[in-house]
């Protein structure tokens, strides 16, 4: 299996595991592998239908599947934590290989560094593959060379969605519309390296402004292919392939 096939397959595996435990109303709408600008890398499971109590009680039944997925993606996590909303629902389960700075900032407070953050487990870890981090840095440098501005690439994430879409999303700060199409083509080359056969190259721009928020390439499922033909006001479509 190639990289994105692993990501899609692991999303389905984790969803099946959660459904075996909690029932059919639980789903994993996204599994993504990310590299952040600070140096952290990680895996995000985005579930619907489970709350923090479910996670804490059943963690020994959930974690082997999620950790196996991390290892499939050559991630060696140092921490597992959940982001919990005001309704106690888990909006994300992260396995992360922290950078030095985040390791300090997210330490202490008995595993509750913020009211919305629950540390579930710590691991020795720390030997993750750096390929995705390198791709993030490479693309950030490209943007800077093209724009002449120290644009910050907050995150590069490779994702598999429940609907069948796969792709790359990058989150920019300080970027404007200049050179957008050229940079999306460069991102598509990176997608090819990750075995993503993309259909669509697009950016999100705050409607009515020049501020670019994300650059994305996607291989779309059938439903989304129809949906993106009539996109939201923040979506700038650079090219269909």
């Amino acid at each position: 299996m190639n990289y994105t096939e692993i990501l899609s397959s692991d999303r389905a595996k984790i969803e099946k595991r959660l459904r075996d435990l909690f029932g059919f109303n639980v789903s994993v709408f996204q599994l993504s592998n990310y590299a952040l600008g600070c140096g952290c890398t990680g895996l995000t499971v985005s579930p619907t239908g489970i709350n923090i109590d479910d996670l804490e009680v059943f963690k020994d039944h959930i974690f082997p599947t999620v950790i196996e997925s991390a290892h499939d993606l050559l991630l060696d996590p140092t921490i597992a934590y959940a982001i919990v909303g005001g309704d106690a629902g888990v909006s994300a389960l992260h396995l992360a290989d922290y950078c030095d700075r985040c390791a300090v900032e997210y330490g202490g407070a008995d595993g509750r560094p913020r009211p919305d953050t629950y540390v579930i487990a710590n691991f020795e870890g720390g030997k993750s593959d750096k390929h995705l981090s390198n791709l993030r840095s490479r693309f950030e440098n490209l943007i800077r060379e093209r724009t002449g501005i120290p644009v910050y690439l907050l995150e590069m994430g490779v994702f598999a969605l429940r609907c069948g879409c796969i792709g790359i999303s990058t989150f920019t700060r300080g970027m404007r519309r200049d050179g957008l199409d050229e940079l999306l083509n460069k991102l598509d080359k990176i997608a090819e390296e990750l075995s993503i056969d993309s259909d669509l190259l697009y950016a999100t721009i705050i409607p009515g402004t020049i501020e670019v928020m994300t650059l994305n390439v996607k291989h779309l499922c059938e439903d989304c292919r129809k949906r993106y033909r009539n996109p939201r006001s923040d979506i700038y479509i650079s090219r269909w392939k």
Binding site: G39, V84, A109, R112, R114, T209
Partner: protein, 333 residues
Amino acid sequence: MTKVKFSLPHPGHIEGLKEILKYKPYEIYMGGSPEFIGTGRGNVGVTPSVEDVRDQIKIIHKKSVKLNIAINSSCLRGWHLTQEGYNTYHWYLSALEDAGVDALTVADPYLVELAKQEFRMKVTVSCIAFVNTPEKAIFFEELGADAIAIDPNINRDFEVLEGIRASVGCDLKVLVNEGCLYQCPFRYAHFNMISHVHGPEPRAHPLYDYYSNKCLALRVRNPELLIKSPWIRPEDIEAYEKIGIDIFKLCGRTQTAGWLNNAISAYINRSYDGNLMDLLDAPREIKNLFYIQNRELEGALDRWKVCNKICKECEFCRRLTERVVNTSMVVEI
């Protein structure tokens, strides 16, 4: 070194509270319940109910620390002036007072007067009331303010700060590490947006936080704005004590416990050997992108104290930025 009164941010949960109390501050502050009134910041996870406040206040008072609840929305959409709104706010403030809350931080002048006239809790006027002249400070003191958190835009304008000090007898607070843009053009609109997005229903659900993203983008593109931002270095606290500032308030109640430990320690020790960005309550993208060696900023306050704020004629901040702001600290794998 005199014992400084610090007002420290509390993220809202018990585990965070225990971390903050280690520092034995004068007071800690936390956001109130957004079901009633919003605050100047977004909510992080479960927000504390009145019952949570009652439980936490026992721990806080055991350490002889005061609790200040921030209910400093900049916009109450006029509802506070309706019968139903008055009843709700009155009920909520009564519940906070019964729980043992020592003080409130409010931005709306009506709430200053309501709290003062009908409750025993002390009243701090929020920096979101933008008190930046002696005249406005007198107005709020006459309305009943026990303390005024001064508009950070004048943090480096010592003539005005001294003028305010000479004009009022109430406590004066300065925010030391807010890290916002100097004379931010988004400030009013952004606080109004936060009031409605993180306040009582009905809530708006914006596609993007335009103001926050624009603010970040401006600083990425022009790092000089980081230097002009009216933060106060830990080493410069003494200069503010000398002109009669009573309380030093740290921002950061949406940050993590580890971040708070580092920032609070720096201000309590009045010294930091590292990246100034570690101390500012700024989003992670700005903190990760820039490195400003705090030691290199020694003496800059002496220039800012007498600055006429006409940047085109001066260029001190531009030259300082070129010397001390480093963008090469971006992680390179």
